[in-house]
């Protein structure tokens, strides 16, 4: 899975491309955690625009980062979910704790 990071003020944006499963999850987890520490940011946005496949491993990745961001009192948002991926998150009850936004701008404004 390819990850691209960008930063806007105190928000880290993770652009993800490819397939998020148990195999790719470990690497994704480490890379995002390292960036959070390196940039010392407060909020996090997952950009799922180019994620074509995700199984329940992705729920663990998002919730794990959510817990980390919560420790600093920050906020987490998700943007651009494809229908198949949205259904996995819905089953996991993820939207009870993390909001999906239309785009990055909307997420940043709400933070």
């Amino acid at each position: 899975m390819l990850l691209k990071f960008s930063k806007r003020d105190n928000t880290l944006i993770v652009f993800m491309a490819g397939e998020l499963d148990h195999h790719s999850a470990e690497n994704v987890r480490i890379k995002i955690d390292n960036k959070i520490d390196e940039f010392g940011i407060k909020n996090l946005i997952f950009d799922f625009s180019d994620v074509n496949f995700m199984d329940s491993s992705g729920i663990g990745v998002v919730i794990g980062r959510y817990k980390k961001i919560m420790e600093y009192g920050g906020k987490v948002g998700i943007v651009s979910l494809k229908p198949n991926i949205k259904r996995v998150f819905e089953l996991g009850g993820l939207f009870k704790i993390i909001k999906e936004y239309k785009n990055i701008e909307e997420a940043i404004e709400s933070f």
Binding site: D21, H23, F53, D55, S56, S57, G60, V61, V88, L91
Partner: protein, 141 residues
């Protein structure tokens, strides 16, 4: 009634999770599925294979077997491992239950399989292994 079948075996490496779901999806494609139906099958297979690798074999080496058959418009997928087995299948199937909380797993694998396929059966014996049998009928045929 139309019948077809296939079987694959591969080592329990996480790299093979993607391989397995793509192979099953390719086999299922002869039923003329919608993109959504195919995506459901891929997700369910990915969950079952991941369970075999993480829980069945606990990341040690073993063989994962997938048997697929098509009868009419119904796809049956069996995912088998000869790993440690599940002590309490009913408990394991509960949403959010995970036997290994340290792994940052969501405990949703069986729930995903159940939701994305029509039926799910889990047979397991301690020390012998686990067999997951899922079926899905395709509307488009």
């Amino acid at each position: 009634m139309y019948h077809n079948e296939m079987k694959i075996e591969f080592p329990s490496k996480s790299q093979n999770e993607a391989f397995a779901r793509v192979v099953v999806a390719a086999f299922a494609s002869q039923l003329d599925p919608t993109i959504e139906e195919l995506s459901d099958v891929k997700t369910a297979v990915s969950e079952a294979v991941t369970n075999a690798i993480i829980h069945g074999y606990e990341n040690t080496s073993g063989t994962v077997t997938i048997k697929c058959s098509i009868d009419g418009n119904k796809l049956t997928v069996e995912v088998l491992d000869c790993g440690k087995g599940i002590e309490d299948v009913e408990l394991a199937r509960q949403p959010l239950y995970t036997s290994r909380p340290e792994l940052e797993r969501s405990g949703m694998a069986f729930t995903v399989m159940e939701s994305f396929m029509d039926t799910l059966e889990v047979e397991s014996q301690i020390g012998k292994g686990t067999r997951v049998i899922m079926t899905k009928s395709f509307k488009s045929v």
